[in-house]
């Protein structure tokens, strides 16, 4: 387990993602989203990938160069769970703030309330798995992303995609018990993603397989949001 030198997504990984994102599908079903130039943050969040633009080929391929797998152990479980807990802190902070500020209406308010409650349950489960020795909560500022409906939707898509990719990247690294907890959570993050993307009018399932993210990539995506100080 030597430390990775890559603090951010490597050029290699970026080139791959760009290649995959540009690829045209032979089975482009509904093209709800036209292909466009992607920023690195969007690529990481998987947010704006065109419908079907990444075919089956993209899947496993997309995962490969960034797939960081090391043999599960108790010590590794702890490190992975601490990292995933950080991701959950950001999500539950986001929806909690949206609820407190009461600016959202209709289905967005319902989404923030229900999903917020589920993210808090994820936080509790991960804290419990860490025997109460949880890391420090980050200091968060979401600015108007928790009050402006359009910004709320695009931010929710980004955060859900990011969380899903983070969990998917770590599930294979865990021992059985935390693995089960992590995949039970990943599944719900995937549901949130599908739900908010449908609300946003964006294809909820644009790829046959979800591309996992490494910890480096997730950290870079978090940094890009500017929410964590």
């Amino acid at each position: 387990m030597k430390p990775s030198s890559a603090g951010r997504l490597s050029d290699k990984g970026l080139a791959l993602l760009e290649f995959l994102a540009r690829g045209q599908s032979t089975e482009d079903a509904t093209a709800q989203e036209p292909p466009r130039t992607l920023t690195r943050g969007q690529l990481l969040a998987g947010g704006t990938v065109a419908a079907g633009a990444i075919t089956g080929a993209g899947i496993l391929l997309g995962g490969l160069p960034t797939l960081a797998v090391s043999k599960p152990s108790k010590a590794q479980d702890r490190r992975v769970l601490e990292y995933l807990l950080q991701v959950e802190y950001i999500q539950s902070g986001f929806y909690g703030e949206a609820e407190r500020r009461r600016a959202l209406k209709g289905e967005l308010a319902e989404f923030a309330e229900r999903v917020g409650r589920q993210e808090r349950a994820h936080v509790e489960a991960l804290e419990k798995a860490l025997d109460g020795n949880a890391p420090k909560k980050p200091s968060l500022d979401f600015k108007d992303a928790t009050t402006d409906p359009d910004k709320f939707v695009s931010t929710a898509v980004e955060l859900e995609e990011m969380a899903l990719a983070a969990f998917n990247g770590q599930v294979p690294n865990l021992t059985p018990q935390p693995l089960l907890t992590a995949i039970e959570i990943a599944s719900v993050e995937a549901r949130h993603t599908g739900w908010i993307r449908d609300i946003a009018g964006r294809n909820p399932a644009p790829r046959p397989a979800d591309v996992p993210a490494t910890q480096d990539e997730t950290n870079a995506a978090i940094e890009d949001t500017g929410f964590v100080s």
């Binding site: 387990m1 990775s4 050029d11 990984g13 080139a15 791959l16 760009e18 290649f19 540009r22 690829g23 599908s25 089975e27 482009d28 079903a29 509904t30 419908a51 075919t55 089956g56 080929a57 899947i59 496993l60 391929l61 490969l64 160069p65 797939l67 960081a68 797998v69 590794q76 409650r117 589920q118 998917n168 599930v171 059985p176 693995l179 907890t181 995949i183 039970e184 990943a186 599944s187 719900v188 993050e189 995937a190 549901r191 949130h192 993603t193 599908g194 739900w195 449908d198 609300i199 909820p204 399932a205 644009p206 790829r207 046959p208 397989a209 979800d210 591309v211 996992p212 910890q215 480096d216």
Partner: protein
């Protein structure tokens, strides 16, 4: 804080399964694929550069699990593809069938690639009007997607190969997206609980049996193309 070592494809893909899946998915030989990859950036080719991977085959248990999944994917792909062809569903549901059908066909190719010569053939299906009936289609789709996501959790704990595990994890969350989407279309809560529980293969078999969609059993030879395309 960073502790995860970046491993090469070679190290991760210890049984060659993913590399084989890549070939099957692209429909190219690896050489062709690398040629195309260079167009996208030589970095891609470099990142996948690995010596010829030994074709050792999968652990027996993983083969059995993937064979069952393949049949389940054939079933889903066939049902949604038929719905897409018949065009009898309302627009949002039809969009769902198109996108999800394409995804499930992608899963079929991926799993066939992982299984190689151990790939089972598709059974023959009769959807008994469900692909033309909005309510029946939606209810069946919700059940299929919810249960497939639940089954894949059980399997994630069972598979021996970590390459297969990584592949199943990548497919698993897509099934959960499908489930949330069809639930949203149907006006039911897309994410009911904070944790999605697993289910057993027996429960999935029971559901599939109850539909009476499968009209002939799959055979074990994987030499021919699946017959699900109608």
């Amino acid at each position: 804080m960073e502790h995860r070592a970046q491993l090469s494809l070679q190290a991760v893909d210890c049984d060659g399964a993913i590399a084989e899946a890549v070939d099957a998915l692209t429909g190219d030989t690896r050489a062709d694929f690398f040629r195309k990859a260079v167009i996208g950036g030589s970095a891609l080719a470099a990142s996948l550069e690995a010596p010829a991977l030994a074709k050792q085959g999968l652990p027996k248990k993983d083969t059995k699990i993937l064979q069952f999944d393949l049949t389940l994917e054939y079933l889903q792909a066939a049902m949604y593809t038929e719905a897409q062809r018949l065009r009898a569903l309302p627009p949002r549901t039809l969009d769902w069938a198109k996108v999800v059908g394409a995804n499930e066909r992608g899963h079929v190719r991926a799993i066939r690639g992982l299984l190689g010569k151990d790939a089972v053939k598709s059974p023959r299906f009769n959807f008994r009007g469900v692909t033309e009936d909005d309510r029946a289609f939606t209810e069946t789709a919700v059940a299929f997607e919810d249960l497939t996501a639940a089954l894949l959790k059980t399997q994630a704990l069972q598979v021996k190969s970590r390459g297969v595990l990584a592949a199943l994890v990548s497919l698993h969350s897509v099934e959960a997206r499908h489930a949330a989407w069809i639930r949203h279309i149907a006006g039911v809560v897309p994410a009911r609980a904070a944790f999605d529980k697993r289910t057993s293969k027996a429960k999935v078999v029971k559901l599939v049996d109850s539909t009476r969609f499968v009209v002939s059993a799959p055979k074990t030879s994987g030499r021919r193309r699946p017959k699900y395309t109608g």
